[in-house]
């Protein structure tokens, strides 16, 4: 964060106040307004797609408009908030067979570096900790937009997704060949602090 501020300050000095990017800053997820979703998709037997969500998570991102590579993001997920619209299945997903939430109540993602791919797209590389296992994953991210909201705040939103193998994170249950990977999607709106 210090680095980001420094980078902003340097670029501010270089390009002058007129060019200072007003949308740089630290953005907190809009948990209160629930403009944030983490969903997952996994195939059921290869016949259909099952969708679920994590209802409770929080995070923030730092956006550096002049040097987007210096931006960063971190997310903390309450794993027990898994919700696939079926109580018995959710109970099973929370058990040792899957997320083991008693032992690992939190999953986290912390970005380590960002590779800008285009105007609004970037690969966000970071460490995902899930069920006690930490691995590097790459989120394929896209900025949807940013600007003043109607209530006096400043907002910025992203969509990002990645794919993980269940077995890579120590999930012991075999759901079959068609269901070895799960796609995680995050859609968040941050409010500049």
């Amino acid at each position: 964060m210090k680095k980001t501020l420094l980078a902003s300050a340097v670029s501010l000095a270089l390009v002058g106040a007129a060019h200072a990017d007003e949308h740089s800053g630290t953005y907190a997820f809009d948990t209160e307004g629930a403009h944030q979703f983490i969903t997952f998709e996994i195939s059921h037997l290869g016949f259909s797609t099952l969708y679920g969500r994590f209802n409770d998570f929080d995070g923030q991102f730092v956006y550096d408009a002049d040097n987007p590579e210096n931006s960063s993001v971190e997310v903390t997920i309450d794993t027990a908030s898994v919700d696939s619209n079926h109580g018995e299945r959710d109970k099973h997903l929370r058990s040792e067979d899957f997320l083991y939430v008693d032992e690992y109540p939190q999953a986290t993602f912390k970005s380590t570096r960002i590779e800008v791919e285009g105007d609004d797209e970037a690969d966000i590389v970071g460490e995902l900790t899930l069920r006690g296992v930490t691995r590097e994953v790459t989120l394929d991210a896209e900025m949807q937009g940013h600007g003043d909201d109607p209530w006096g705040g400043y907002r910025m939103g992203f969509d990002a997704e990645t794919e993980i193998k269940l077995a890579d994170f120590g999930i012991p249950t075999n759901l079959g060949k068609a269901s070895e990977t799960v796609t995680l999607e995050i859609s968040v709106e941050g409010i500049r602090q």
Binding site: N55, N85, H86, G87, E88, K91, T173, N174, L175, G176
Partner: protein, 186 residues
């Protein structure tokens, strides 16, 4: 064997309900113990829980009927040879057996209906959710179900062992009077 209880022994209805419930309780416990470890591709993965839920709902109706019958019918008196401790501990155990059964069945139902869906009883009828969707109710109900069912079979085993002790050691009519057997003259 007459239908109603007498002061000396259980009648066919009371005894029949007792053994039916005993069979169902141990059967459900065994099925439940077995089914939670089934893997995804097992033939029984969906069938075992379906049978478990269906029998559980039917058992609830049977236990309610049994309680109504119990209050309507005569209660056999304790044998004269029983000590005060035996009479009291048996009574306490009976009350807890009923409470644990009702707790176990209710909590099981609340696991399945935590998402607001009903419970299908075989392919016969469906019991709707009473609570509607309540977030994470399945976890709390699941913990209650786990402990209540273990406590229930533990206490039921003790209850059975006590009856066997009366039969084998004390050689009295305690067990005989809930079986379709002739009582001793006393």
């Amino acid at each position: 064997m007459q239908l109603r209880n007498s002061r000396r022994r259980y009648g066919a209805v009371g005894a029949g309900l007792h053994w039916l419930v005993a069979l169902a309780v141990f059967g459900l416990f065994g099925l439940g113990y077995y089914m939670v470890d089934l893997t995804y591709y097992d033939q029984w993965y969906k069938l075992a829980p379906h049978i478990h839920r269906s029998i559980g709902i039917l058992l609830f109706a049977v236990v309610v009927l049994r309680l109504l019958w119990r209050f309507a019918d005569t209660t056999p008196s304790p044998l004269d040879s029983h000590s005060r401790f035996e009479v009291l501990s048996a009574r306490v155990a009976h009350v807890f057996l009923y409470l644990l059964m009702l707790t176990a069945m209710t909590s099981g139902y609340l696991i399945s209906t935590a998402d607001g869906s009903g419970v299908r009883v075989f392919d016969w009828f469906e019991v709707p959710s009473v609570t509607g969707r309540i977030e994470r109710m399945e976890d709390i109900a699941g913990d209650v179900h786990y402990w209540a069912t273990w406590a229930l079979v533990g206490l039921a085993a003790l209850h059975g062992l006590a009856a066997i002790k009366h039969h084998m050691v004390d050689r009295d009519d305690t067990l005989r009077r809930i079986l379709p057997a002739r009582l001793k003259k006393s």
